[in-house]
Amino acid sequence: MLDVKSISKTFHPGTANEKKALSGLSLHLEAGDFVTIIGSNGAGKSTLLNAVAGVFYVDAGSIVLGGRDITFQPEHRRSRGIGRLFQDPLRGTAPSMTIEENLALAYLRSAKGNPFSRLSKKDRAFFRERLALLGMGLEDRMGQPVGLLSGGQRQALTLLMATLVPPQLLLLDEHTAALDPAAADKVLELTQRIVADGHITCLMVTHNMSQALTVGSRTLMMADGGIVLDLSGPERAAMTVDDLLRKFREGTGRELDNDRMLLSD
């Protein structure tokens, strides 16, 4: 499904701020994989997601998604097949537009549809049905501007928008980190349900160690722009948070250091 082959990225090359963010990283994902990613500050977790999404072009290496080489495709072209959520719940939606207008925009990712077509009754019924799945009562507020929603509601809406047209790949960058615990649980539960229902391939960066082991089917640990640990199957099932910390120490020779890391729930 996703084939990342020895990609590298250096920011601000040749200056005092030179930062090697990814160094020869390779990663292969099968269709339907749900992979969690953990790592210390500056390990390159977000950079990896940005590279796959096309926020910048990589300096070396290639990225193939669903058999198509997207290494040099611009971000807006890649987003046809890639859905994305950020930590900041405000980043995924347009605040002054209504819920249904936001959904209509997300719906643009489906290849069909003429740019001059307007929201139809059928579209509205479809949006309503999908909003009802969130269980937040948003289906009755479709005409309200998104700016009136809470962070959790906005993130749930963004999740719905990112998966309205099922993406080949879903990228989640600590998408529950800025929410209050109840909203975070709700959004994570929705994520798991939507990903499972749609058999969506998913990469999720998290700062929650136990979440990294319990959510999804595979866990990657990153350090210094590379992958230091790749866990799946029975080995992952038997792993505890303490084991994970020890593995990190063995792999990199230092403690896992992340100012937001949660060691338990």
């Binding site: 995924g92 605040p95 537009m97 990712r109 001059f116 929201l119």
Partner: protein, 302 residues
């Protein structure tokens, strides 16, 4: 008195197209588009020249096309070549000065004498009687406003609206913001040129400097309208542009006839109104902060 009212309404409707264009560029796309001044004259110059050559109706779409080209240049400069958006407008505006002279046959003004304009054509049919000019101005402006509202409800229109709101999200919905900015600026400048084209034929004259300050006057109209109506929806924004423009022209007429302030001061007054209106949130914040500081000082008992 009736004549004054009628003229104010006519000019109000005609200049409302500029306020509508600014609603699209400034409010929706969040771009201060300084192409507006030159683009207004461009529309008027193309319109007057073509009307003078005997094509008053063709002159209108031709002027809009010219305006869209000017918008495209501004958009190209800021989206592809990395020119800051305000500077992009100024660069285009400066270039347009020469283009406008060229469009007027290398003269600094042009007039229409004894030739048909769209206004005389309608008057000759007898439709609207003594109000035919007003009728034409109102129909053109309301039609443009209606089309703009309809367009902003389409998928392309929605992605243009989202561009000013959240560019990341536009990219995430597989639309290139470069494209939406370009389309938006082409449309807004076509509207500005339409205003110039209508005003040019209405006044039967165009001067190379007739666009000076149009962008600020257009913003003033928009702000006046929004103060009356509030600004939430697209429909309200477009209606605010029309209403504000009419109110502004009434204000202008009052000043012109009562001379409470000299008419020559009106541009300064308009600029001050616009400056203050846009600064209002900062002034409110500053006032609130001073109040808090004052209150805190008292409590400290110094």
């Amino acid at each position: 008195m009736l004549l004054i009212t009628q003229t104010a309404l006519e000019l109000g409707f005609l200049y409302a197209l500029v306020a509508m264009a600014l609603f699209l560029s400034y409010r929706i796309l969040d771009i201060a588009d300084l192409t507006t001044d030159g683009c207004f004259v461009l529309g008027a110059a193309v319109s007057v020249t073509l009307a003078g050559a005997g094509y008053p109706i063709l002159a209108i779409p031709a002027a809009m096309g010219a305006g869209a080209c000017a918008g495209f240049v501004t958009a190209f400069l800021q989206t592809r070549l990395g020119v800051p958006s305000i500077l992009a407008g100024i660069v285009t505006n400066t270039g347009l000065y020469t283009v406008n002279l060229m469009a007027m046959g290398w003269r600094s003004n042009a007039s229409l004498l004894r030739v048909d304009t769209i206004f005389t054509l309608l008057r000759d049919t007898g439709v609207g009687g003594g109000y035919s000019d007003l009728l034409l101005a109102a129909v053109v402006t309301l039609a443009a406003g209606g089309l703009l509202v309809l367009f902003l409800g389409t998928r392309l229109g929605l992605s243009i609206r989202a561009t000013g709101d959240n560019r990341d999200m536009v990219r995430a919905s597989s639309v290139n913001p470069t494209f939406t900015v370009t389309v938006g600026l082409c449309i807004s400048n076509a509207l500005t040129a339409l205003a110039g084209a209508m005003v040019g034929q209405y006044q039967k004259t165009v001067d190379i400097n007739s666009g000076t300050g149009i962008v600020v006057i257009g913003l003033a109209c928009l702000i006046i309208g929004e103060t009356v109506l509030g600004r939430r929806t697209v429909v309200k924004g477009v209606v605010a542009a029309v209403l504000g423009s009419i109110l502004y022209r009434f204000l202008y007429a009052v000043v012109f006839y009562t001379k409470v302030v000299p008419v020559d001061c009106l541009k300064l007054l308009t600029a001050a109104i616009v400056g203050l209106a846009i600064a209002a949130p900062s002034i409110r914040r500053w006032a609130a902060f001073q109040k808090r500081k004052l209150a805190a000082g008292r409590k400290g008992g110094t």
